[in-house]
């Protein structure tokens, strides 16, 4: 049985070593923080020359251009705040619409308007929606830009809205496929990254706000603006899920859930991403 006197130096070392380790590790964390800071500065610079503005300009023109068998513009389209009222509309979507009796996001609502106001078929309205410089890309970017500065505030009043939120919530945690992935696999813990790409914790309001206020976004790697549905579809592709249908319930439900997580976030879209 050794005496305390002889144990004393070893005890002190045992107490101090973790502290030293922490100091060294904190230095690593400091390096990470500096790197993040530099990347954020670079991102701010990119915002100045965001090619999404070209899509915005295109969308503005499409909004006021006559089209379809009814030779009508989209100016009477109701995105939830009344016909033609665009300011802040994106920040309030998805929501329930009485005329279609459905919860709709901006993309599905635009299709409703193209069909009802312009007389296009659903097929015509959605053809090539995901291609660069598509009409949908332009219109969604334009409408999102009209919510700059607006606070995300999606209604959870109608039972259908609450039901879609619950559905989105369930889907977010649903694991399936050969890699057992759910959205939660990558997006339910703070300060995580895949390789060097940060993946935000969408269950934390401040992280959800950072994400949802930046979509739709110009993706430099694709050279085009991606809508939120396009982005979610690509998540699912990487999760090894099948591709959901465009405008399908799963995509709208997830948006309902995510927008609710991001409530209060100030819209800055269209954003710019790698």
């Amino acid at each position: 049985m050794t005496s305390f006197a002889s144990m004393w130096p070893r005890l002190l070392l045992a107490l101090l070593l973790p502290c030293l380790w922490c100091i060294v590790a904190r230095a690593d964390d400091a390096q990470d923080a500096r790197t993040r800071e530099e990347i954020n500065k670079y991102r701010e610079m990119l915002q100045e020359g965001n090619p999404a503005e070209l899509s915005e300009a295109r969308g503005e023109e499409l909004w006021t251009t006559r089209a379809g068998p009814r030779n009508a513009t989209l100016e009477q389209c109701d995105l939830g705040l009344g016909p033609g009222k665009l300011e802040g509309a994106y920040a309030r979507l998805p929501r329930y619409f009485a005329d279609t009796r459905e919860v709709q996001d901006v993309e599905s609502r635009l299709v409703t308007c193209m069909v009802e106001l312009q007389g296009l078929t659903r097929e015509q309205a959605t053809r090539g929606w995901y291609q660069a410089n598509s009409d949908m890309e332009g219109l969604v970017t334009y409408i999102a830009g009209k919510s700059r500065g607006a606070s995300i505030e999606t209604p959870q009043v109608h039972p259908a809205e609450r039901d879609m939120n619950a559905l989105g919530n369930a889907l977010f945690f649903r694991r399936s496929g050969p890699l057992d992935f759910s959205c939660a696999t990558c997006h339910s813990q703070p300060d995580r990254r895949i390789r060097l790409q940060e993946v935000r914790d969408l269950l934390l309001p401040e992280d959800a706000r950072i994400v949802l206020t930046q979509w739709p976004a110009y993706r430099v790697s694709q050279g085009q603006v991606w809508t939120m549905e396009r982005r979610l579809m690509d998540c699912m592709r990487q999760m090894r899920w099948p591709e959901p249908g465009y405008l399908s319930e799963a995509l709208i439900a997830l948006q309902v859930f995510l927008q609710k997580q991001a409530a209060g976030g100030v819209m800055q879209a269209p954003g710019i991403k790698r």
Binding site: G49, N50, E53, A57, V220, G223
Partner: protein
């Protein structure tokens, strides 16, 4: 309006800060499409910007400039209400000219 040039101008004193966003595919000629075929090179080779018959910027671009290029530059002697003329010519011989009124 297929190929847009978006111009923003800000005049401070007699110096104008011009910011341009040009819609152009800027293909390097080295990229492959989803079928594995090379996408042919298609990029702006020459960009000329004139103000009152004076060339204020002349740039020789190439495949290193990315898609939908953004350019910012300053020049002296600018006056509000005057016009800026922007012309690009690409490797296919296609060209576009646009005019913007300085604010």
């Amino acid at each position: 309006m297929a190929n847009a040039i978006k111009v923003r101008s800000k005049i401070e004193g007699d110096v104008a800060l011009i910011r341009l966003l040009i819609s152009h595919p800027m293909e390097t000629g080295l990229r492959k499409d989803t079928e594995g075929q090379l996408v042919p090179a298609h990029f702006i080779e020459l960009l000329t910007i004139t103000y009152q018959d004076r060339t204020v910027l002349s740039a020789q671009w190439g495949p290193a400039v990315s898609r939908n290029p953004y350019l910012a530059f300053r020049f002296k002697g600018a006056q509000k209400g005057e016009k800026l003329r922007i012309t690009w010519v690409d490797n296919k011989g296609e060209s576009q000219t646009d005019e913007a009124v300085l604010e």
